[in-house]
């Protein structure tokens, strides 16, 4: 009984999401908003490509984004790994002192 209710809910959510996602992706590609392999002129990325070397001194533009332009995101990312280690160690701790 419980499972069937869950299945029905699941099927409904599943089909709604299917329609949504397919629509949005088709829009992106065929609506010429962001067709695959041919993104429109992009200010943020072209700025980074042309200025990364001078501003950060790194030849690798991706690294310059990761550690300089979006360095704070990377701090968050490192924090998440730190959180996961803390969480895993916490969960597998010895219970008695």
């Amino acid at each position: 009984m419980k499972m069937s209710k869950r299945n029905v809910l699941g099927i409904v959510a599943f089909s709604i999401l299917t329609v949504f996602l397919v629509f949005s992706m088709l829009m992106l590609h065929f609506g010429n908003i962001h067709p695959f392999g041919n993104p429109q002129e992009n200010d943020m990325d072209s700025y980074i490509i042309s200025n990364a070397q001078e501003e950060t001194g790194a030849n690798n533009a991706v690294t310059s984004v990761v550690f300089d332009y979006r360095g704070f995101d990377t701090l968050g990312e490192a924090t998440i790994l730190f959180t996961a280690v803390a969480g895993v160690v916490l969960l597998f701790r010895r219970l008695k002192k």
Binding site: K2, M3, R6, N7, G10, A13, F14, L17, T18, L21, V22, M25, L26, L28, H29, F30, H34, P35, F36, G37, N38, P39, N42, M44, D45, I48, I49, A52, Q53, N59, N60, A61, V62, S64, V65, V66, Y69, R70, D73, T74, G76, E77, I80, L81, T83, A84, G87, V88, L91, F92
Partner: protein
């Protein structure tokens, strides 16, 4: 228009496979796998957004020249992958604990065990 947006449809396919596993599979490990498949779909989507036809990697070291693919989506994907690893580690350790307590990974049996 040569690709007909197939990468985007692959993204939808991956997300739907993941959701299917998440919603209809009863094994906890399979649910976790479902989440990682959704995550792969989203990562593929992010990296797809940054691709330009005929472009090279955005690295200047001995580069052959030419247009470069967009660096920001690549950086975002990198972040997202590491986040995925962290979430996966924690989910799996919780699954291990659930198995210790209930002796099963079946969702239905765990729900019964509650009563």
């Amino acid at each position: 228009m040569i690709s007909f947006g197939i990468p985007y449809l692959a993204v939808v396919g991956l997300i739907l496979i993941g959701l299917f596993a998440l919603v209809f599979k009863k094994n906890l490990i399979k649910m976790v796998i479902g989440i990682t498949i959704i995550e792969s779909g989203v990562n593929l989507f992010l990296i797809t957004l940054g691709y330009r036809e005929g472009s090279i990697a955005p690295i200047y070291t001995s580069s052959p020249g030419g247009i470069m693919s967009l660096p920001v989506p690549q950086a975002l994907t990198l972040t997202s992958i590491v986040i995925g690893v962290a979430v996966l580690a924690l989910m799996l350790s919780l699954v291990i604990h659930i198995y210790r307590h209930y002796g099963t990974l079946n969702v239905n049996k765990i729900a019964e065990g509650e009563k």
